[in-house]
Each structure stands twice: as structure tokens, then as C-alpha cells.
């Protein structure tokens, strides 16, 4: 690329990044404050009162952490059964477009996928799901799994904020408020904006037309805008169409694409403000959001550099890394989306990550391996980074030989054990799942013969990417992989389930044990957790924890292919 062509690219990159940062910075305070007020307010809206009465919940009561956890699990279990049943009953449901019931392993995988906020899709939606399953099953879980995630994050914040308390909030109240006060109103606004940009909202099915050159073309229909809005706002990511947000009916223009990116960044990047507010020190929120922002900008720059450089045999031959990218988004619009979606646990795509350059695709993989904390999912991002913060404070405490404390709460053996278990869960699932795919002879044959699409090292990366995505509840894919097989539907289903609910168990236990403590006063020996020094420590801990764990497998996949 000559200098004249390179120059505008840099400016376009900075203008695009600058717009994202500006919007998020403007929204940070009002939205964060609104989220905090939503979960701390004592007022109950009239519709909420009606709902509590119908489900038999006293909104004034609070739950202990085991009770809160049981509610989360019961609600999620009922959700899995409902999505499973809807898929199996598809032929008798209205607007099913004549499609058959989903087969059992796929129905299992999809039910878990949407309830765990992962939105991994082993299937091609156009060919598999009618409108009723999409609306009453998947879109509903897009709201509810997001509301559950935020509720768990809020419960952990309460752990820090409460003093000597036996309770951490009321799950049903948190669920209801998150859904009705945050996600639903924002989704209505987002859906209308997307509609204006060209996202469709109809019940027309597939329309066949005769083209001007005498051929035929198919124009798909569907209630897309309503689903697209919550798919993004709730960091879900499950596409209405197979091509997800690369499909022109999900994402018609460059400006809708940046709006979509903002939709899935806006809540995770505002959660630290809600956190700072609820623990009574906004500087704590700034330190957390600063950590997220630094990781985000570095990651985006790396991936963009890799894709612009376009190394690799096919991109070099074509004269650019445009395989799997849409003309209207170009490389910059594609890498912004890809970085944001893999760092937020959204997992929707506007370009095909499997076709990225080896290193560009590797960055997407590493983004998920960071544990979805920069900024992570709507709720998972905040509770994830707070767990890493606990580890960071512990490491710092070891270095100076003091009992670690964070936000006035002592971090004893129990807290550190829970945080460590949290940190260990996803890497274990990723590495064990990937290893089993190649270690069990019969499975290996199926994986290599049926599932893997690209030969050689890239095929290994497809499997590694799948388990990384599932265990971290991201949902994006190196989509060449044929995952609609008994092995992947089952193994990824288990990885998604454990990757979601084991961490939630540890987080809620942590919330309970923190809430039970009284606050200890700040002394000159207390490690300040709002300064740049702590941001550096936190970034270092995020990188250390994931880099050490994953370096060997990365060396087998994208690094070996790209270097």
C-alpha cells in the first residue's frame, strides 16, 4: 500500500474509533446511573406489582445467596425446557414456514445456547426455524438471559456494597426490573432505528421474484428488527439469518453497522458506572472501565493491522483480505464489529471470522480467551472483571505481605478459592473439549471427516474456536465447522451450560460471603484500587491468567498458521 492510500485509512480508523469512544463516554454516566437506580430504587411500577402478584413474589423481601442461586437455576431450567419444547413442536406452531421439528441433539444445543446467553448456532436459521420459535423461544431468551446476567452482576455489587447482610437482593425483582426498565425500552428504540436503516419486520416468508435478467431471486422475510435489537443489546448474537449481521436484512448499511456495535457495547461499558455508584465511589468504576477500554483499543488495533496487511496465500493472491467481508463495511467496518463482538460475548458477526487472516482470526480467538471482560457481556463482563480484580488484589497483597482487601472487604481463603474456581472453569472446558475432540478415536474420525471444513492447522483452530466460544458464552464461530453433529451438539451444549452456570454459582457464593462481612476502614496500608497503577495491575492480571493458560494451543493453531 502506498503512502497516499495508507494515510486516509488511518484517519478513517481513528474517526470510527473516536465516534465509538465518544458515544460510549457520553452515555456512561446517564446510563450507568440509570442502571444503578433501577436496581437500588424502592419504587415498584404498577405493571411490576401486577407481575409480582401473578408469580407470587413479595418484592420487598430479599434472598440469601443460595436462595438467589436456586431462583436463577430454576428460571433457567424452565427456559431450557421451553425452548426445547417449542423446537420439537415446531410443525404445530403458527408461522413455522412448513419446517419440521428440530432434531433432539440440535434442539438440546440450541435451547442451552440461548438460555446461557451464548447464541451458538449449529443450524442455519433460514432452513431450520420458523417465526414462532424465533419469537417466543429465542428472542424471549435474548431478553431473559441478558436480564439474568445483569442480575448476577448486581448481586455481586451488592456483596461489596452491603454490610453484615445475610441477603444479596431478590432475583425476581432484579429480573423484572432489568427486563422491563432497561432492556425492553432500549430495544424498542433500537428496533425502530434499525427499521429506518432497512432492517425488515414482516411475516411474508420467502418471496420469489423474476429478475430483470430473466432469472429468479428469493427475498426472505421475517420479524427481524425486533429480534435484532435485543440480540445486540443483550450481547446475545444469535442471527435471524445464517449470515447473521452480515445479512443485508440484519445490517443494511455502514451506519447501521456502527449502531449495532454501539448497541452491544453500551450496557457492558456502562455497568462499571453502575458498580461505582452502588459501592459509593465512582472512581472505582472509572478504573474498571479504563481497564476494559485499554484492552479494547489494543485488540482492535491489532486485528485491524492484521486484516489491512492481508498476509496469507489467498488474501495476497486476491489483493486484499475481502473473502467473507461485505463491500459496504470494508475492512475497517468488519474489524470493528469482529473485535467488539468477541470482546463482549455477543458473538454476532458482520464478516466471517473463519476467512480472516491467520493472525486476525487469532485475535478474535484471544479476545474470547481473555474471559469476556473487556467489556464482556451485559452482566458477565462486570462480574468477570471483578473476579479478576479480586485475583489482582490478592497477587498485590502477596507481594507486600498484607491480607488483601477490595472495597473494604477482606479477601480471605474462601473468597480467593471461589475466585480461583471461577478463573479455572472456562479454560478447563475449552482445553478438555478441544482435547477430547481429537483424543477419542471415534470422535476424532467424525470431527476430521465431517465437521472440519478447512484442512491443516486452520481445521484445528475451528475446533478450538468452537469450544472457546461455547465455554465463554460468546457464540461466534469459525463457521466452516459443521457443528450439527451428535458430538458437537452435545459437547458444546455441555460446555455452554457449565461455562455459564458454574461461574454464576461461584459469583453468587462470593456475593454472599462478601455481603456477610462488615466494611473494614481504609488505612495507609490499603492498596488503592482507583489509580492508574491498579489499572495496569488489572490489565496485567487479565493477560497473565489467559496467556499462560492458552499459549500452547494458540501456538498449535493461529500462531503456527500465521507465522
Amino acid at each position: 500500500m502506498d503512502a497516499a492510500a495508507a494515510d486516509p485509512t488511518i484517519w478513517l480508523f481513528l474517526a470510527q474509533l473516536g465516534s465509538v469512544v465518544l458515544v460510549l463516554a457520553l452515555v456512561y454516566r446517564p446510563l450507568g446511573d440509570y442502571i444503578a437506580a433501577t436496581y437500588t430504587g424502592t419504587r415498584t411500577l404498577r405493571v411490576e406489582k401486577g407481575l409480582y402478584r401473578m408469580i407470587g413474589v413479595d418484592p420487598a423481601s430479599e434472598q440469601s445467596w443460595p436462595s438467589y442461586l436456586r431462583s436463577v437455576l430454576a428460571f433457567s431450567a424452565v427456559g431450557v425446557l421451553a425452548v426445547y419444547a417449542l423446537q420439537r413442536l415446531q410443525p404445530v406452531l403458527p408461522y413455522s414456514l412448513g419446517l419440521p421439528p428440530t432434531i433432539e441433539p440440535l434442539a438440546f444445543n440450541t435451547a442451552i445456547s440461548f438460555v446461557t446467553n451464548t447464541n451458538w448456532q449449529s443450524y442455519s436459521p433460514e432452513l431450520t426455524l420458523g417465526y414462532t420459535v424465533q419469537l417466543a423461544g429465542l428472542a424471549v431468551q435474548n431478553f431473559l438471559s441478558a436480564a439474568v446476567g445483569i442480575a448476577v452482576a448486581v448481586a455481586l455489587i451488592r456483596g461489596f456494597a452491603y454490610r453484615s447482610s445475610g441477603t444479596i437482593g431478590n432475583f425476581w425483582v432484579d429480573l423484572t426490573r432489568g427486563t422491563l426498565r432497561i432492556l425492553l425500552p432500549l430495544s424498542v428504540v433500537a428496533a425502530v432505528v434499525l427499521l429506518a436503516g432497512g432492517v425488515i419486520q414482516n411475516f411474508s416468508g420467502f418471496q420469489e421474484v423474476t429478475t430483470i435478467s430473466g432469472g429468479t431471486a428469493v427475498v426472505p422475510g421475517g420479524p427481524v428488527a425486533s429480534q435484532e435489537a435485543i440480540k445486540l443489546l443483550g450481547t446475545n448474537g444469535g442471527g435471524f439469518f445464517n449470515a447473521n449481521s452480515a445479512h443485508p436484512f440484519e445490517n443494511p448499511t455502514p451506519w447501521t453497522s456502527i449502531v449495532e456495535v454501539l448497541l452491544f457495547l453500551v450496557i457492558p461499558f456502562s455497568m462499571p458506572r453502575a458498580f461505582g455508584r452502588m459501592v459509593g465511589d465512582n472512581r472505582q468504576g472509572i478504573a474498571i472501565v479504563g481497564t476494559m477500554a485499554v484492552l479494547f483499543v489494543v485488540s482492535l488495533s491489532l486485528m485491524t493491522w492484521a486484516e489491512l496487511a492481508g498476509s496469507g496465500t489467498a488474501p495476497q493472491l486476491a489483493g486484499g483480505a475481502m473473502e467473507g467481508k461485505e463491500t459496504r463495511f470494508g475492512i475497517l467496518g468488519s474489524t470493528l464489529y469482529a473485535t467488539s463482538t468477541t470482546l463482549t460475548s455477543t458473538g454476532s458477526v458482520n464478516s466471517m471470522h473463519d476467512s480472516f487472516t491467520s493472525l486476525g482470526g487469532g485475535v478474535a480467538l484471544v479476545n474470547m480467551m481473555l474471559g469476556e471482560v473487556a467489556p464482556g457481556g451485559v452482566g458477565g463482563g462486570l462480574y468477570g472483571i471483578l473476579v479478576v480484580a479480586i485475583i489482582a488484589v490478592f497477587i498485590a497483597g502477596l507481594m507486600v505481605g498484607r491480607t488483601p482487601e477490595y472495597l473494604g472487604k477482606r479477601l480471605g481463603a474462601r473468597e480467593i478459592k471461589l475466585a480461583s474456581l471461577y478463573i479455572l472453569t472456562t479454560p478447563t472446558l475449552v482445553l478438555v473439549g478441544t482435547a477430547l475432540s481429537f483424543a477419542i478415536p471415534a470422535v476424532r474420525q467424525d470431527v476430521e471427516g465431517t465437521s472440519i471444513w478447512n484442512p491443516g492447522l486452520h481445521g484445528f483452530s475451528e475446533v478450538l474456536y468452537a469450544f472457546t466460544s461455547a465455554a465463554n458464552n460468546n457464540g461466534s464461530a469459525f463457521a466452516g465447522l459443521t457443528a450439527n453433529t451428535p458430538w458437537f451438539n452435545t459437547a458444546l451444549g455441555v460446555a455452554m451450560f457449565l461455562g455459564r452456570f458454574l461461574p454464576i454459582v461461584f459469583v453468587l457464593a462470593l456475593a454472599g460471603s462478601l455481603a456477610a462481612q462488615d466494611k473494614i476502614p481504609v488505612t495507609p496500608g490499603t492498596l488503592p484500587t482507583h489509580r492508574p497503577q491498579f489499572v495496569g495491575l488489572l490489565i496485567g492480571t487479565v493477560l497473565l491468567v489467559s496467556a499462560l493458560t492458552y499459549f500452547p494451543v494458540l501456538a498449535l493453531g493461529p500462531l503456527a498458521e500465521g507465522l
Partner: protein, 196 residues
């Protein structure tokens, strides 16, 4: 206790499904159909009164065997079904080192070299690669301009006229900095047909 939680969960799910799975999409459908019907129904385009496609969904301009029809501007390669199948959106998902992708790019290169009578170095990347959706309605301005001499010759119209038409269809970046400049192939071809 546990049964009670499950019962609460079930009731909550049913009520919230009615609100979020029925009420919300119907509200958005109502708004779409009343306030933004053109977009909500797929930005359909008509030519001589008949719907000929959606401005947002790419089409192929080839014969039944997939050979380019020389009198039309060509879209990008597509991995959606047999090519631009609106019922099966998809990218190729070929990795950067996949030999099948390498040979596909080589084949496309030589096909375009002979169709357009150009040298390989003049062909832009979008002409040689399949998009993410397989339904990309756009090509780059460079690829559109590359096709001008061939389209003009096939239609017997002066090249300058076709080139001017293409230039009038070049769409800049959104807000001047978002995305890449594009040409919408279907819109261009509809206007082209009106030229004669």
C-alpha cells in the same frame, strides 16, 4: 421450597413470553408497517411495475450455467446456495491458506481477465472473493468501472455514457467516513436497462 421456585419460574416465563415474545414483536411490526413500510417489507424495487428484487439483496446476472451475461454488470462471487440464493445466506468460510480458495481465486482471476480484457493486477479484491452473506448487493467502484467497456460493447452504447452512469451510482462512505464506497449492482443494472 424448590417446587415453589420452579412454579414461580414457570409463571414468570409464561407471562414474560407474552410480553416479550408476542407483544413486543407485534408492536415493532405495527410501527414498521405503519411508519416505515418500505423498509419493513424489504426495500423492494420495481421495474415496469413488477417487483424485481430488493435493493439490499444481491442478485446474480448469469445464465443458468452460471456464466456471466455480458450485457449486465456482474456481482461478486457468492457462496449462498448455488450463488445469491436468498433462502440460504452464507459465506464460503474458506480459511486464508485453504487450497480450494486459492484455486477459486485463480479461476476467477483468469475468467475476469478474459471477460473484461484486463490484466490481473487491475482486478480489485472484491471481484475475486465471496462476501460474508453471499447476498452482498454491492461491488466496489473499481470493479464497476472495470466492467464498463464490456457492458458498453455488449449493448452497443458508447462507453462514455455507461461510465457516466456508473459514476452517478457510486455511493460514498456513510457520513463521509463509515464503510467503503460502493455501487449497488441491481440499481445500476435497472438504470442501464433504461438506457437501452
Amino acid at each position: 421450597m424448590r417446587m415453589r421456585q420452579t412454579w414461580t419460574a414457570l409463571r414468570a416465563l409464561v407471562i414474560l413470553t407474552l410480553v416479550l415474545g408476542v407483544g413486543y414483536p407485534l408492536l415493532i411490526t405495527g410501527i414498521g408497517q405503519l411508519a416505515l413500510p418500505a423498509q419493513a417489507n424489504g426495500s423492494l424495487v420495481r421495474s415496469d411495475g413488477a417487483v424485481v428484487g430488493s435493493v439490499l439483496i444481491g442478485q446474480s446476472f448469469t445464465d443458468a450455467d452460471g456464466n456471466a451475461l455480458p450485457e449486465w454488470f456482474q456481482s461478486r462471487p457468492s457462496a449462498a446456495g448455488a450463488g445469491y440464493d436468498g433462502g440460504a445466506s452464507s459465506g464460503s468460510n474458506y480459511g486464508p491458506e485453504n487450497p480450494d480458495l486459492v484455486s477459486a481465486i485463480q479461476d476467477r482471476k483468469s475468467a475476469i481477465e478474459s471477460l473484461e480484457s484486463v490484466t490481473a493486477s487491475e482486478i480489485p479484491a472484491d471481484a475475486l472473493t465471496a462476501s460474508a452473506s453471499g447476498l452482498d448487493p454491492h461491488i466496489s467502484p473499481a470493479y464497476a468501472l472495470l466492467q464498463v467497456p464490456r457492458v458498453a460493447a455488449a449493448r452497443g452504447i458508447p462507453e462514455t455514457q455507461v461510465r457516466a452512469l456508473v459514476k452517478s451510482f457510486i455511493q460514498g462512505r456513510d457520513l463521509g467516513y463509515l464503510g467503503d464506497p460502493t455501487v449497488n449492482v441491481l440499481q445500476l443494472n435497472i438504470a442501464l436497462a433504461k438506457l437501452g
